[in-house]
Symmetry: C2
Subunit: 321 residues, 2 copies
Amino acid sequence: MVETTRNYNQFQQAPRVLVVGTGAVGGYYGGKLAQAGARVAALCRSEFAQVKEKGISISSVGGDFTFMPEKVIGHLSEYAPPPDFMLVALKVLPQIDTANLIRESVGPETTIVLLQNGIHIEEPLVEAFPENEIISALAFICLSRPKPGHIEHSDYGRLVIGRFPQGSSTRTELLASLFNSVQVPCETTEDVITARWRKLVWNAAFNPLSVLAGGLDTLTMVQSPGAVQLARKIMNEVCQVAAADGYALPAEVVEQNIEGTQAMAPFKTSMLQDYEAGRPMEVEAILGNCLRTAQQHDVEVPYLESFYVLMKLVQEQRRYK
Amino acid sequence: MVETTRNYNQFQQAPRVLVVGTGAVGGYYGGKLAQAGARVAALCRSEFAQVKEKGISISSVGGDFTFMPEKVIGHLSEYAPPPDFMLVALKVLPQIDTANLIRESVGPETTIVLLQNGIHIEEPLVEAFPENEIISALAFICLSRPKPGHIEHSDYGRLVIGRFPQGSSTRTELLASLFNSVQVPCETTEDVITARWRKLVWNAAFNPLSVLAGGLDTLTMVQSPGAVQLARKIMNEVCQVAAADGYALPAEVVEQNIEGTQAMAPFKTSMLQDYEAGRPMEVEAILGNCLRTAQQHDVEVPYLESFYVLMKLVQEQRRYK
């Protein structure tokens, strides 16, 4: 196998990527793929005019850069032919039907990359596009979007990606090599569902805690013995559910997550950012799906259940106001 | 036994009552005792001038009235001799040393009436005043204090009182007859600790829930299946702790509390009122003492623990702001 410099051996030229959901995550990783030489287009809604004119400026611990998409579109009909990679970085919310939303731009050869939070989020896409390759991707990164057209990348940045539901693929390796070529550490895994459970351990604990405790950043949480104790309880419950679902996690994952958070620059979790901005939070993808999986396997998760119910109430309450 | 009209047989004249903590609860019940013919003085802090000049106006479902204390004092040294009844309606907070605060006005014949929330709140008073009679009192009432010198009584009003730790007493009966004479239903119990646990069932569930869910009144809570489900879990845990502590509650207490709340006019819990006004909340008296009792008896209370830790975090977070 002859590798080109850019490792595009599978394609005639640089792979075509369409970013759907050009928020902080989609903007940052889309921008890095463009840096790596991919031809990246971006579907934008609220920031369409801004991004079309000036692109997205990214202040990053790894070096500032501007992501100027090859094409900025306001609707999928403006993009053809279908992309090689559809990078889906939408939030996972009950009111967003991702499959339906992306359908018109998914061609037979399109690989759908789900760069999203939560657990059991791939099934609707598998059902809608049974013939397409789906890559599930996890971002370990601290991002925020302080104003339109601007992203701040304050810490971390690593990706873990894998063919869904398991195994390896040429496109998974290609995507990883593109990211790695621009200093985004990207690991491939043949067991991406376990990796997703592993990430959920952090998300299910610290995301809701940051909101329910009245708006705490990560440092304030890990400096509070009560918060850490509660985070551990949630993390242990997620580990139990993962194991019951067939994806046992190593015992040290809980302490690794606590220590990792202690080492992190103070950061507002994505749920807290959403809460403060009045945006919907990924309560179902992160907590609801985990709770339902627990119930399927008769695993008792009282701490998780408390968080889930409270977060749903907080979410509903927001809507009334 | 010859009963006088006013039932003051124990005293030469109308009993002297000193209200310490003249907030909504102290103001309302102190006012009712004054209506019943008791000679009621009030210790006031922030509202001293207002109350001294105009008394406390009370808009009540049972009929509006004004409570004009016989004497309004800013410090206990202004009151002598010691009262027959010291009506303590202070909030139960770690930073308030009630025993020390009332000490100078507690005479050998003073009965201390603790009209307060929480569990295991009497012990410090028993220790400080081992020779004095202590009456523990529970108010089932919806009160708020929309502005200084004004109390709103929107629903309920019943009292349950009893000699602490158990049994009956002449003064308990006298106090009850005073309240009953002015349409405040007041029940005496020989087992006031069980009554206190019974009240905690409601308080431990709906008080923190109203705050953590983002500011819900009672009606919104009982109309939400998730909130009711979580309230039931907490209530069941409190019942388990009560039983382990030697005070078994009847099984129907949980559903009675849910139904009672459904029948109640929409009301902001005291914790929510305190939270919104930036005042400290009775997290330790209501949740902390119950959790510590659970731990003493090795009872698992994950829902209660979640609420306790979150409420402590919310409380601390408030202090930073």
